[in-house]
Symmetry: C2
Subunit: 367 residues, 2 copies
């Protein structure tokens, strides 16, 4: 066995690179080839930061400009309780096709394994050839979801928001909370979860990322009534946040519901809201909170819904007045995967040599 090191193109890829440059720099480094990155490598390449959030925001901009094709997700269940979810996006101006296979196996924690697992494939949209396999294990999936929450809050939260409320205590809650702490001065963070140990673990984690007071609230009601920004990150299938707790001047990001039957918000909140934003109308109406809208005055095509990309691109208003109620319904869309994969690959190619491995040797990748 022998191992070759190939120097990658030395310049750093940035989020403003255009597609041809992106793949050209790639080809300079090695062609034809597939880069395989493990989760630990990806964690070494990036953390949650404003540059990553901006990269995901770029994805929403391209979506708003009509530059993305997103087929309906392939979703199926295994052993009735476990989920497999395939999301794809073709981003024309980037020349990229992303396809992500994510699984949720909810008995895994009892085996000492995480519930979620995920593989993200990046293909060249000009030739269909595989360029990268990101064995990201759910890390990038959670990061790109949290980035969307940060983008929603950037455009929809009231100015001077002082209190953030977090409903849920899992990985999604952790990263959404961290994303809301980026570049934001807060007085307090309120956390609610049914399991006190998990809530305390989340609080301990967040303490490393903010100087704000962090408290474990007694109830969802307490969190919602006291917060300017609330993010819901549970796997609930029924209403957690009641409309009577929602007050003018607040923003809610509903991040948990991403499949048929899931729900965290009273639909009445959507009826009352001054503005309901979503990541992708077609998904929000079938998989998000918006699936539960039955008010006959709201058209079934979702024309009452604003897409986040349109807000980001300046094609639709975000928050206009401080006393508005705004909601963002997030289900997770393919362009977020394409955007974060492109960002991580830019890091991988731009910052370090890439080792090319003799194809005659079988490889096991310890992830």
């Amino acid at each position: 066995m022998y191992t070759i090191f190939l120097e990658a193109a030395s310049r750093l890829f940035t989020v403003v690179d255009v597609a041809l440059d992106f793949w050209k720099g790639w080809s300079d480094a090695m062609d034809p080839g597939v880069v395989v990155l493990t989760e630990s490598e990806i964690r070494g390449l990036t953390n949650l930061n404003t540059e990553l959030v901006d990269a995901v925001e770029d994805g929403f901009k391209v979506l708003a400009a009509g530059g993305v094709s997103t087929p309906p997700p392939m979703m199926f269940t295994v052993d009735s309780d476990n989920e497999v979810d395939v999301k794809a996006a073709w981003v024309r101006s980037w020349g990229i096709l992303s396809i992500k296979v994510a699984t949720g196996f909810f008995e895994n924690p009892a085996l000492g394994l995480p519930s979620g697992n995920s593989v993200l494939l990046l293909l060249d949209a000009t030739t269909g050839q595989t360029r990268a396999v990101l064995l990201e294990g759910g890390y990038l999936t959670t990061l790109r979801a949290a980035a969307a929450g940060a983008i929603a809050a950037k455009w929809l939260a009231p100015s001077g928001a002082a209190t953030v409320g977090v409903i849920g205590t899992g990985q999604l809650a952790r990263w959404h909370a961290r994303a809301l702490l980026l570049d934001r001065e807060l007085d307090s963070v309120l956390v609610y979860g049914r399991n006190p140990d998990r809530a305390n673990a989340l609080i301990d984690d967040l303490k490393e990322h903010t100087n704000a007071r962090i408290a474990h609230s007694k109830s969802v009601q307490e969190v919602v009534e006291a917060s300017d920004i609330v993010v819901t990150c549970t796997s609930a299938h029924e209403i957690l946040v009641r409309s009577e707790w929602v007050h003018p001047g607040m923003h809610i990001t509903a991040a948990g519901a991403d499949a048929t039957g899931k729900q965290e918000l009273d639909p009445e909140i959507l009826y009352r809201a001054d503005r309901v934003v979503c990541d992708l109308r077609a998904q929000a109406l079938t998989q998000g909170e918006c699936q539960h809208v039955t008010d006959p005055s709201m058209s079934s095509d979702g024309s009452w819904l604003t897409e986040l990309g349109d807000v980001v691109a300046g094609m639709a208003p975000g928050r206009i007045k401080d006393d508005e109620i705004t909601v963002c319904d997030l289900t997770g869309v393919g362009v977020q995967d394409a955007a974060i994969a492109r960002y991580v690959l830019g890091k991988a190619l731009g910052t370090a040599p890439v080792a090319a491995i003799d194809p005659g040797v079988r490889r096991g990748v310890i992830v």
Copy 2:
């Protein structure tokens, strides 16, 4: 950088291994880990042979026993002419989830690249964790398709078939023809393709695999009229094989049509046939030749169709008499991918050491 070699479980995995043994042997070798195999490695591990065909036949048996869940494929187009196609299968008794992303980019040959590309993921159906990434580039996809053709002919072709006709000259035609030559004594092979150079290249290839006379026919009609077994492997969108050329005692495997709008056979052939078999009823009726059936006497639920797995499992008849007309409509189903991936992984784990690579080093895999 350092490289570790881990000895895989020393025994050879065979196609009769049960799921628990399969993954257990895996875990003995390395756990948790992901094996990444390139196309060249996979080509080194297996060729088209009867053991591989038997492995795919095992997949059809499990399908017939109700042991496989197959969600509808995710199919979308890129730049109007190029296809992306995601097929999944959950094989309960094997404990395996397979997900395959295949692309067809038809301008690639002008760039010196193959049209087809494919990545096959194998996941543990108990935990959803990724076990293997097969960067098979379309090789296994073509092999498992050709294996299905061999299985169809095994159960449906007339005894003593002496002449095989091949319509089409691409990779699919090449491997279907080779699969029909396995374990079969023939007098002649007839090839028809519009491009004489490609037809001659196919003939030269096949000469290395049979002593039968091989000829380039002038027309589809000549091939069909003279053959006992015909396989159609084109990307046609209209009738190539006319009903008046079809004679009693012949078998046709229609392998080209695998998407809406594609067609190679006159539907009249399906009406006349004594038995129409398909790989998966739901797919044949929407993507295969069966999508063109409009005869009002044939029910729209496809109850007139027999699934190949049912024939293989002895639950439905194959050919009963030598003068019957039989047709097999193949669209390619997820369980074929699961079966061939399991077979190749058994080879990889059973026959050679597996190299585990330091996760701290980024890898480029030259495919």
